[in-house]
């Protein structure tokens, strides 16, 4: 069995606003094994990006982590001092962000920005760090890195900047790379190139990747395991095949149906999920999907437990109650139920 890298337990994050607390993440538990690539899928407001920031302890006021704990390599990171966190950030856990155009300091050369990170975490000399930066840029597919390193961010296209960001994130050989919508701001042909990079990372056993996206296509192409989030909670988690071929949760099913089928003729009617996502200032009690779910029943007003569907496959829905045990029961019996 592979090594457990990161475990999140009952993570909760709220944003304090004038109108009350926006409960962006409401009890999220999952784990990441070394070297695997996990997709977190969800729509805007699902809490996927906030979860990522919480893992890195980057939630800033008015946001606040109000509960839960994070374990990294068996060490509990909850309540760690900011100084210790800085050693972890960029070194053991690195992050790539959505918008490559605003991710880099516009008045500093690419080389300076890269070597700053490399030198801080790896203590290399200036020359060695520059050398390393050039190597990394070449690795992520930037031509003529020796020349490019002396240029400013505005001289790079969006796709090239995202490559630079990925190179920077990889510069300290992190054990976990969190990519928050890394291709959303890019054109589709550029996106494909960046996804190639992630596919290559997938085969790298030293670096695990959390890929946060709203695009089911991206998940299907790159990830081995998928976590589906909605309304600040995990709705379903499964190996990528199960999510696309044996989805259990009505939300996952709805999401898959609302995109046009591949190869399906034009004008085949889409099946949308009616209604709008819940207001997280005042979320409905029970299942967050209750307002839009075609199977909603009385029982859904009570939050269901996670049901164990199969190996690595769990679903937060009462529909699974009849045929499946809860994750907690399975765990009590000592079987591996993940988390």
């Amino acid at each position: 069995m592979t090594e457990r890298l990161l475990t999140a337990r009952d993570l909760r994050v709220s944003f304090h606003t004038r109108d009350g607390d926006n409960q962006a993440v409401r009890g999220v538990s999952f784990h990441i094994d070394a070297g695997e690539t996990v997709g977190i899928v969800g729509e805007s407001g699902s809490g996927k990006s906030v979860t990522a920031k919480a893992i890195m302890s980057l939630i800033q006021p008015p946001g606040e982590v109000i509960g839960g704990e994070i374990e990294f390599r068996g060490e509990n990171l909850t309540g760690l001092s900011e100084r210790k966190w800085r050693k972890i950030r960029g070194n053991q856990i690195a992050m790539v962000f959505q918008d490559p155009m605003t991710s880099l300091n516009p008045v500093k050369k690419i080389g300076e920005q890269m070597t700053e990170v490399i030198r801080r975490h790896r203590g290399l000399s200036r020359d060695a760090a520059t050398e390393e930066a050039i190597r990394l840029l070449r690795e992520v597919g930037i031509p003529e890195p020796e020349r490019r390193i002396r240029q400013y961010p505005h001289e790079f296209s969006g796709g090239m900047r995202q490559r630079v960001m990925i190179a920077m994130a990889l510069s300290c050989q992190p054990e976990l790379l969190i990519a928050d919508e890394p291709t959303t701001a890019l054109d589709v042909t550029i996106q494909a190139q960046i996804l190639e990079l992630f596919k290559r990372l997938k085969d790298n056993p030293d670096t695990a990747v959390i890929l946060i996206t709203h695009d089911l296509g991206v998940v299907a192409q790159v990830c081995t395991r998928v976590i589906v989030m909605y309304g600040g909670m995990i709705m379903e988690e499964a190996p990528v095949e199960d999510i696309f071929y044996r989805p259990q949760h009505p939300y996952t099913i709805g999401l898959l149906r609302s995109v046009p089928k591949r190869g399906g003729g034009t004008r085949e009617r889409l099946v949308p999920i009616e209604g709008t996502p819940p207001d997280l200032l005042d979320p409905p009690p029970g299942c967050p999907f209750i307002t839009r779910c075609p199977h909603a029943m009385d029982k859904c007003k009570e939050l269901p437990p996670m049901f164990h569907i199969g190996p690595g496959h769990r679903s937060l829905c009462w529909l699974a109650e009849k045929d499946h045990p809860t994750v907690a029961d399975v765990k009590a019996e000592g079987e591996d139920a993940d988390v």
Partner: protein, 319 residues
């Protein structure tokens, strides 16, 4: 980059032209006939006409303007109506006192404002920020002439530490004496500039901390101080170039009120005296002088900014 410089230079020319027209127009529109200042009681009407002709005042307005402009360009800004001295000489005479006072005040203000503004901005809404911000608020709201009076009362009248008037004690010729005279006016002016610079730098720092690249620095394990000095500082310091360019005009006339209160023999008090004595050529000379300085200051700031910001240098962003 070269194109930017040339374009800015060419834009400055019509500005200078318009400013000169405005100055000339004001002399023309000023009540009172300039010839009268040359008139003595025993002159005949034809004498007066001759003076008028000699001064070119019987020519059409545009010819008069061109003549005036020609004179201006050759360094002749006319003569004072009061003491008949060349205006330019008077300005040049007073220039060191004003430039010295303003230059030191602005320099002090910038040097103090950079750390204060950045500390406040980086610690937004903490007590240190609130304190600095409140003081800056008071600084921009306090009438400087009142502050000057308070300082005179406190440091000159009550405590007898410092002189309250002028630039030199009569009979003394030491540099220390000038410095002592300069402390109070300099303090007043520094407070005035400092307050607005601090606010400027503070809001610039706050703005940069909201930028995504700064947030991302934390994700790469940067300390806040590293972010502040390695990344934010350059962004915050760049706009100061513009700010300084805009203060070039102030360099000459900004100290008008302060100089008057402290009887500092600079261009401000020269202007004040000129206004009191309706001495139009002097007023216009100073106006023109300070407008030209301001335009050139802005020009220099634009060019410097262009050199300092890589995005403008390559023509990526137009300023």
């Amino acid at each position: 980059m070269r194109q930017l410089i040339v374009r800015r230079l060419l834009q400055a020319i019509p500005m200078l032209f318009v400013v000169s027209v405005v100055c000339f127009g004001m002399i023309k529109l000023a009540p009172g006939d300039p010839v009268l200042s040359f008139v003595t009681p025993n002159m005949h009407a034809e004498d007066i006409e001759r003076i008028r002709h000699n001064l070119g005042l019987d020519q059409p307005a545009y010819v008069q303007y061109l003549l005036w402009l020609k004179e201006c360009l050759s360094g002749n800004l006319g003569y004072s109506l009061v003491n008949h001295q060349p205006v330019l000489d008077q300005i040049v005479d007073r220039l060191p006192a004003t430039v010295g006072l303003m230059g030191i005040s602005i320099a002090l203000a910038v040097l103090l404002a950079i750390p204060l503004g950045m500390i406040a901005g980086a610690n937004r809404n903490r007590w240190i920020d609130k304190l600095i911000n409140l003081i800056a608020y008071i600084g921009i709201s306090v009438p400087l002439f009142w502050l000057a009076i308070l300082f005179i009362y406190l440091f000159a009248i009550k405590l007898h530490w410092l002189p309250s008037m002028g630039m030199r004690t009569i009979g003394k010729e030491s540099a220390l004496d000038v410095v002592k005279h300069g402390i109070l006016p300099c303090a007043v002016l520094t407070i005035g500039f400092l307050a607005s610079y601090v606010r400027y730098i503070r809001s610039g720092t706050i703005g940069q901390f909201k930028e995504e690249y700064v947030q991302i620095q934390y994700a790469f394990g940067s300390k806040k101080s590293t972010v502040l000095f390695r990344h934010v500082m350059k962004h915050v310091l760049l706009p100061i170039i513009t700010l300084l360019g805009m203060s070039m005009g102030d360099l000459v006339t900004g100290a008008l009120v302060t100089e008057t209160v402290f009887s500092w023999p600079g261009i401000g008090s020269l202007g004040m005296t000129a206004v009191r004595g309706m001495d139009y050529p002097v007023i216009m000379g100073i106006t023109l002088f300070s407008a030209v300085l301001l335009i050139l200051g802005n020009l220099a700031a634009d060019i410097l900014y262009g050199v300092a910001d890589p995005r403008i240098k390559s023509g990526e962003v137009s300023s």
